[in-house]
Amino acid sequence: MYDTSDIRKGLKVLMDGNPFTIVEFQFVKPGKGAAFTRTKFKNLLTGAVVERNIRSGEKLEPANVEERSMQFLYKEGEDLVFMDESSFEQVSVRAEMVGENADLMKDNLPCQVLFFNDRPVDVSLPTFVLLEITASEPGVRGDTSGNVTKPATVETGATIHVPIFLKIGDLIKIDTRTHSYVERINKS
């Protein structure tokens, strides 16, 4: 069990059966009362953030969670198959767990897979991925004011809005947090 003096960013705790990570905390102490730690917890399964005041003396239950570096191998129906980079163990994860980023996953992509009670519960992609454009209409000169974009398909199948001057074969950087185009990368 943890107590309030163990509270730090990134500490994983179990509350109401759900695993949480501590994202923020502040020491508060009324003049004549007990010390509290005003703590923000992020639910590792849903991403929802809750705030709770933990009184000094209260206990927090550690959550059995582990983040493992794994490589994406291939898609198998609705499952994504990953391999542990150190033990070479393979696990299958339902594609819906990755959400809309499933269409940004290229073979061998290094990911972080979160295990809760030894079951995979969440996959985080690197913040940026580099993918090649495989299909896109040529840009039409015309309205050049503002940010003119066009849809483009990348090698993993995702459709991303890119600036109008990009063409098939261009390598682009995509932010997986927003599922959107960042910049063109010069191939070297």
Binding site: P30, K32, G33, N53, R55, G57
Partner: protein
């Protein structure tokens, strides 16, 4: 010597419109001066007067000034200006007390019986048994028994394990007492002092918390603890209900109390969750008055309602600035409350300290009716300077000792 400049070169312009100028950080702020091309950032320099050459007193030795961990770079960037303002504030503060016929006193920082409050931990010091004070109140009350009437003290106090945006384990306390007077006089003192210090530093009685400005010269809002708990937490508090009854009411208001079973712990679960944020949202300074007996500490009971004590806390923008008591002067009740505190400390597995028999002897000898208050000077400086962390107003933090 009005044109004399001395300080440290923090930037040198060698090209562009300001070529030939160096920025010198002096004790009074940054000044731009001409140089002849031979100064480097980091050098200590002196200019004797107008038209004189800039003299390089001590060349900077390491190059690449400023490095992030130099004493000067750290202090200068964040705090030097705040420390100068703090000096000004302390002069104003002493002026407020001088104008009111107070005597400044100094009592020991190392004591044989530290504060017994249940939630405080003292830091051991000197030959055992000895601790650093958590507050000078026991010693100052002995001075009241000795016949002093208006006394104040500015001193360091020490509370183990208290570090945060509003807490430092070593901090500066201002305490003052008025014998033969009541809490109203102390209330007037607090409001006047805060306004006076703000005026001395900022030119007007305005302080700030976050980006919000507060007029501390205008009348402060007053609210009772019972009303604050009713309005903001939806909890009725009388002060004489048993802990389980209070626990039911707090839980019924949708507030989690965890494993709390003691009256004060249950109360503060609701207070921290609901009242603290509401106090922070108030657009005026607030005096929280009429505390229930279980939170009475060293305050005397109110004559017209024995479930309440004469106590107030002062808040600005949610920052708790001061705590005041109509002082408990009955030696028997004081001894009983000390015994209760000790029992509570034992029960909660906290360190048990000796009773301050010298204070109890002084109370037995007889204290006139008195009122007193403790005010956090660092927090006062925070609001006067608009700092959002206590480290910005400290000379060195505990990590920088």
């Amino acid at each position: 010597m009005t044109d004399a400049v001395r300080g440290r070169v923090v930037a040198v312009d060698r090209a562009g419109a300001r070529a030939g100028m160096a920025l010198v950080r002096t004790a009074r702020g940054d000044v731009e001066v001409k140089h002849a091309g031979d100064v480097e950032p980091g050098d200590l320099v002196r200019l004797a007067g107008r038209g004189q050459p800039l003299e390089r007193v001590r060349p900077y030795l390491r190059g690449d000034y400023p490095t992030p961990d130099t004493e000067l770079a750290r202090l200068a960037r964040r705090r030097l200006g705040n420390l100068v303002a703090r000096g000004k504030a302390m002069a104003a503060l002493r002026g407020v007390f001088a104008a009111r016929d107070f005597v400044e006193v100094e009592t020991p920082l190392i004591v044989k019986a530290p504060g017994l409050e249940i939630h405080l931990t003292a830091i051991p010091a000197g030959p055992a048994p000895g601790w650093l004070i958590t507050s000078p109140e026991y010693q100052m009350k002995r001075l009241l028994a000795a016949g002093m009437e208006r006394i104040y003290q500015v001193c360091k106090c020490f509370r183990a394990e208290e570090e945060g945006a509003h807490h430092a384990s070593e901090f500066t306390m201002l305490e003052w007492y008025r014998a033969w007077e009541n809490l109203d006089a102390i209330e007037a003192d607090v409001c006047a002092l805060v306004a006076e210090v703000a005026r001395a530093v900022n030119g007007e009685p305005i302080v700030s918390v976050g980006n919000r400005r507060f007029d501390v010269g205008a009348p402060w809002m007053r609210i009772t603890v019972a009303e604050a708990m009713r309005r903001w937490a939806g909890v009725e508090v009388a002060g004489d209900e048993p802990a389980p009854v209070l626990a039911d009411r707090v839980r019924a208001a949708g507030i989690d109390i965890g494993t709390a079973t003691a009256w004060d712990d249950i109360f503060y679960c609701a207070f921290v969750e609901k009242v603290d944020p509401a106090l922070a949202a108030c657009d005026r300074p607030v005096l929280l008055v009429d505390w229930p007996v279980p939170l009475g500490a060293l305050a005397r009971r109110k004559a017209d309602d024995p479930r309440l004590v004469e106590r107030f806390e002062a808040y600005v923008g949610g920052i708790e600035l001061a705590n005041a008591f109509g002082e408990l002067v009955d030696p028997l009740e004081q001894r009983a409350r000390f015994e209760d505190d000790l029992a509570a400390r034992r029960e909660r597995g906290r360190e048990v300290y000796p009773l301050d028999e010298k204070l109890l002897a002084a109370l037995t000898e007889g204290l006139p009716p008195s009122a007193g208050v403790a005010l956090g000077v660092d927090r006062l400086m925070m609001i006067v300077l608009g700092a959002d962390h206590i480290r910005d107003v400290l000379t060195f933090t505990s990590a920088e000792r």
